[in-house]
């Protein structure tokens, strides 16, 4: 994983939607500054169960162009609300095994409160807004699309 320059927002944050394995250390290395006293890394990982049913693996599908746009918007909102632009967000799509990292969010800020708030804001907005779908493969051989959040119209959209 290495978010490219084209994924870099004007204010310094980085976002990426990737198919390859996420390297948490590489995401962490994208944030941090001499002025920062807090560095926070959140990892979302694939659980081995869903509603009590054993899960063997997942497939994430995305609408790539819209997902990149939406992740940029979410990171930009976090920058404006919380005053740090040391933010890196990477979401993986494709086939993932139990225990693998599906999302990594790194934030650094002068004090810990802003880092925790930004990290929490970003993961909650990802859940509600990112056009990503999860296909769960159960150990018993069945598979199903997970029913999640219904997307809401964008303010000011056509």
């Amino acid at each position: 994983m290495s978010p490219s320059a084209r994924d870099q927002g004007a204010s310094g944050y980085r976002i990426a939607i990737v198919r390859a394995t996420i390297d948490p250390a590489a995401v962490l290395a994208l944030v941090g500054d001499r002025t920062d006293g807090a560095v926070l890394l959140f990892l979302g990982t694939v659980r081995d169960h869903a509603d009590g049913r054993p899960v063997g693996g997942l497939r994430y599908e995305t609408y790539q162009a819209m997902a990149e746009k939406e992740l940029n918007a979410i990171a930009g909102e976090a920058v404006r609300q919380l005053g740090t632009d040391r933010i890196a967000v990477v979401h993986r799509v494709g086939n993932l095994a139990v225990g693998e990292v599906s999302v990594a969010i790194a934030v650094s800020s002068p004090h810990r409160a802003e880092a925790y708030q930004a990290s929490r804001f970003i993961i909650e907005e990802i859940k509600k807004r990112l056009p990503v779908w999860k296909h769960e493969q159960y150990v018993d051989g069945e598979a199903a699309w997970v029913r999640g959040w219904t997307l809401e119209p964008t303010e000011g959209a056509r």
Partner: protein
């Protein structure tokens, strides 16, 4: 006018296709596109009556008007993270 419809995840599986070019009268709305697709019968009647829809990557309301060449994405409830 012609617009391109994209179907993702459960919708693509239900319809058996991810892309469909659709001819519509000028000024048609998202809601009219949905009605037009559903009126084709099976499997298109498996689309919800009011699905979440994005025009050119922005989620819009059902009364949004379409224009020639728009990319219309039908988006099932999302489950990322």
């Amino acid at each position: 006018m012609q617009v391109r419809s994209l179907f993702f995840a459960a919708y693509r599986d239900a319809l058996g296709t991810g892309t469909l070019d659709v001819d519509l009268p000028e000024g048609a709305t998202v809601g009219e596109l949905v009605t037009s697709l559903r009126s084709r019968g099976a499997p298109f009647d498996r689309l919800p009556k009011a699905p979440a829809v994005a025009i050119n990557h922005d989620v819009v309301r059902g009364d949004a008007r379409l224009t020639e060449g728009d990319e219309i994405a039908f988006l099932p409830p999302v489950a990322g993270g």
